[in-house]
Subunit: 223 residues, 2 copies
DNA sequence: CTAATTTCTTGATATTTATCAAGAGCCAAT
DNA sequence: ATTGGCTCTTGATAAATATCAAGAAATTAG
């Protein structure tokens, strides 16, 4: 029941066909959303088996963390994958002298350290709540069960991760081909809402510039 | 037979166990090597089934392309995945005024536009041979067969792609946290050989700097 | 081997971005 | 409402990197 609201099941697309990728959205996704996932599941299985969706949904438990608390600390193993129902999480690395924000995950996205979750290695990132956050969380053992119970799951999962891979390729490309100002503009065009919700210094870091540079570019854009 | 030389099958590790990730090698891989793949297959299946390896190997056909020829042109769909037996391929984007090199794939690596290969969308990259290159190539239909014939293949494939994902995460992080000089040093430390093999301007582009900046940093390092 | 072409280096200069420092604005807790 | 602590802005300056132009070195083609 938990997730059915988000799952948006529609019994269309009766034939099993190759999933289409979403429009190629440079830079504006990272971890992927539940509705994206479901679009995949639908197009992949044809009709989503109601019982399978129920099964998957039942394995996610509602959890929450308060602003400032950590979802994951670097060095720890990640044993959970969460869907953000409401709230914001910042993924960052603390170096000697400063923090580098790798990404900010918002409502509707999945979050985990994929590396740590999959391979059970120490997490490279800290993940901290920027606001009180509600999650639907599945632990690693339960997640493994999905693969055992739904034969085509791994194939689907692969497609999902490839999409994330592509998004990262694009993000690298943005650093090879765009100036700080261009990265700002692009990101702003696709993520306006975020600018009112989180400290701008984190967005600056995520885009690879200092808060001062960010502030100056921002001023220029507003005028 | 084709690939058995590379596959380096060893009938050790008799129990099926969780594959360990390779040491976390920031920035120095992108597409992954056959031996890495096989390490995975081995640890994943426990003992590699000789017949399965034969099967996989038999689907790869030896092909070659001459220096300057294209393995893939942007806009075309990628229908092949290749293992580089010998040679060098440059993955790049041609913009109005310049070319941006996204990566250089060397002997021992797989190469394709993953996005295009998996989703059959137009390739975003050009892939061109920097030298006469020998490949073992599998087409998309045959690749699909592997998944049909070896049930655990998709799970394994997922792990492989997650590894590639992690490498990209690190590469992004290098742009958020390192200067051009630091990126040069890091890359040089891990890829010395490449500096004698390809035009340095391509490495410069790949690291996100101009050839002039690259040249000056290089001079500084040598002295 | 030689000429043509491409690649690399170097210098001068411009632009972009970072750093440091100070103050202003904004929130949140008392 | 007031205080304290963040966060953001702004200015002055420094450092990093890009651009443009020319020539040197290396490579390739004939």
């Amino acid at each position: 029941m938990l997730l059915l609201h988000h799952l948006q099941i529609k019994n269309e697309n009766n034939n099993k066909k190759q999933p289409k990728p979403l429009p190629h959205s440079h830079l504006n996704h990272y971890y992927c959303t539940m509705s994206e996932l479901i679009t995949y599941i639908q197009s992949y299985f044809g009709v989503v088996q109601e019982k399978d969706v129920e099964l998957i949904a039942s394995l996610f438990k509602k959890t929450s963390i308060k602003k400032g608390e950590y979802f994951l600390k670097s060095g720890k193993n990640s044993n959970q994958l969460s869907f953000i129902q409401e709230g914001l999480l910042r993924i960052f690395v603390a170096t000697e002298d400063k923090e580098i924000t790798q990404w900010i995950s918002t409502k509707g996205y999945f979050v985990t350290d994929l590396s740590s979750f999959v391979f059970q290695t120490p997490s490279r990132w800290n993940i901290q709540a920027l606001s009180d956050t509600e999650l639907y969380t599945i632990n690693r053992d339960d997640y493994t069960k999905i693969g055992q119970l739904i034969p085509a799951w791994h194939e689907l999962e692969k497609l999902f991760i490839v999409r994330c891979f592509i998004i990262l390729e694009d993000r690298i490309f943005s650093h090879l081909s765009m100036t700080a100002e261009e990265r700002y503009q692009f990101f702003f065009a696709h993520n306006k809402e975020l600018f009112n919700q989180v400290p701008l210094q984190y967005i600056a870091s995520m885009l690879g510039m200092t808060p001062e540079t960010f502030s100056r570019i921002r001023k220029k854009q507003l005028s």
